[in-house]
């Protein structure tokens, strides 16, 4: 059975139909053709599909698309302002935190949610914020550097 989902994605109102069993990730990628959020484990363990749902990072692969009705969703496509990258995106580039890049959109969404909460994250805050994201290229130190740099830039410290 099909359901109509009316939601707000990256500030834009969207309405589309999908099978009731559709996950939010499938709705984004397959129904709306927004391929930035990545499909990887599809079990809520790797974080590649992370989006921000009413201000909170969630795994879109284990969220029912129908639950997006009436919610505010932010995806990786909503961060850059035209050609100007979001400070978190720019920091990932500047510190070399991107290797194969597949996990990067998920990381960036987790980090954006963290820096929306605080621009002075502690080491424990950073670790908690990305503990649900896996990078198989194992570039974790540079990712932590990127988070610190993004925080400093957003707070005007760098």
């Amino acid at each position: 059975m099909s359901v109509t989902i009316t939601t707000t994605i990256n500030g834009q109102s969207v309405s589309a139909s999908a099978e009731a069993s559709t996950s939010l990730l499938e709705f984004l990628r397959d129904t709306l053709e927004m391929k930035g959020s990545k499909l990887c484990c599809n079990t809520g363990e790797c974080g590649a599909c992370t989006v921000i749902y009413n201000g909170k990072p969630i795994n879109s692969c284990v969220t029912l698309a129908a639950d997006a009705s009436g919610a505010q969703i932010t995806t990786i496509e909503g961060l850059a302002d035209g050609e100007k990258l979001h400070p978190v995106q720019q920091a990932f580039i500047d510190t070399g935190a991107v290797q194969c890049g597949y996990c990067t959109p998920g990381y960036i969404m987790s980090v954006k949610a963290l820096l929306d909460r605080t621009t002075k994250p502690t080491a424990a805050d950073i670790e908690e914020a990305v503990s649900g994201n896996i990078c198989r290229c194992t570039g974790y130190n540079k990712i932590v550097d990127a988070i610190q740099l993004a925080a400093d830039r957003i707070a005007g410290r760098a």
Partner: protein
């Protein structure tokens, strides 16, 4: 697959009565969505997230009440939980990842009835109760009898867990939740042990102690023989050692991809000892000697 979003407990119960054989309840979805994608779609999906008043943490009548739809993150960030039920806070804090905690609900973790469910051993040692709605009325049952096997609980196919009622532990009691897993975040516990200990007024003897063991039996369990051994006695190193071994014998673990049964028994022994030492020290200010 049929799909429903009931707006009241009554509507949800009617749907479950009508479709019980093929219906599945979904809340946060972190477990159910995986079943849908990797196992099979149920005939009908009943999404209970739109039912108002099933969410939130409150205190009344000497108990903390948690709505079944309250997310693990809401529990983790509740000052009431942190202050009054630190053992549940610890389990929530160690629960999967931030993304999962933001969506997973305590009711889902309970109704999933997994032996390794993170919040379950804390609820057992806190003597918490499940408040359930059925078409013929409400039923309240302690979690000590609620779990019946992996995935099986008193809620069954036609009931709905609505609230968790947790009596505030006696003044002076201390609790701890210890999880053994390879990776800190995300991992399912190889073994989880919750201990809640209350010393007597002179802080010389164990007045009350409750021990919960997770992932080492078909359901999360209490260790009643170990608890009986400890009650009324001063907590010496020799007694702690004896208690660890007895707790291991009360468990009945299986071997799986996460651990062998033998290893699990060792971990039960070690975590029980550690839990007793830590709660004793926190409650009495004294080391176990």
């Amino acid at each position: 697959m049929e799909y429903f979003e009931p707006k009241s407990i009554g509507d949800a119960l009617s749907l479950l009565s009508k479709h019980s054989a093929e219906a599945k309840v979904i809340a946060g979805g972190t477990d159910v969505m995986v079943d849908i994608k990797f196992k099979e779609e149920p005939g009908a999906l009943v999404n209970i997230k739109k039912i108002p008043s099933l969410s939130g943490v409150s205190e009344s009548g000497g108990a903390i009440r948690i709505g079944a739809l309250t997310t693990i993150r809401e529990i983790e960030t509740s000052s009431l939980i942190r202050e009054k039920l630190p053992v549940l806070w610890e389990a929530s804090h160690q629960f999967a990842s931030l993304q999962v905690r933001n969506t997973a609900t305590i009711g889902g973790n309970i109704c999933r009835a997994s032996p390794s469910g993170e919040t379950l051993t804390p609820l057992l040692v806190l003597d918490a109760k499940a408040v359930m709605a059925f078409s013929d009325g409400e039923r309240i049952e302690p979690f000590t009898s609620f779990f019946q096997g992996p995935g099986k609980s008193s809620v069954g196919a036609k009931g709905l867990l609505t609230e968790i009622e947790i009596p505030i532990p006696a003044a002076g009691s201390k609790g701890v939740y210890l999880k053994h897993a390879v990776r800190g975040a995300m991992d399912i516990a190889m073994v989880g042990v919750a201990v809640l200990l209350t010393p007597d007024a002179g802080k010389n003897n164990v007045q009350e102690v409750r021990i919960g063991l997770g992932a080492v039996a078909p359901t999360p369990i209490r260790a009643p023989k170990t608890e009986a051994l400890l009650r009324g006695k001063p907590l010496t190193a020799a007694l702690v050692k004896q208690a660890g071994a007895l707790a291991a014998s009360e468990s009945s673990p299986i071997s799986d991809q996460r651990s062998s049964a033998e290893n699990r028994r060792w971990i039960v022994e070690a975590l029980t000892r550690r839990g007793l030492e830590q709660t004793w020290k926190a409650a009495t200010g004294k080391e176990v000697v």
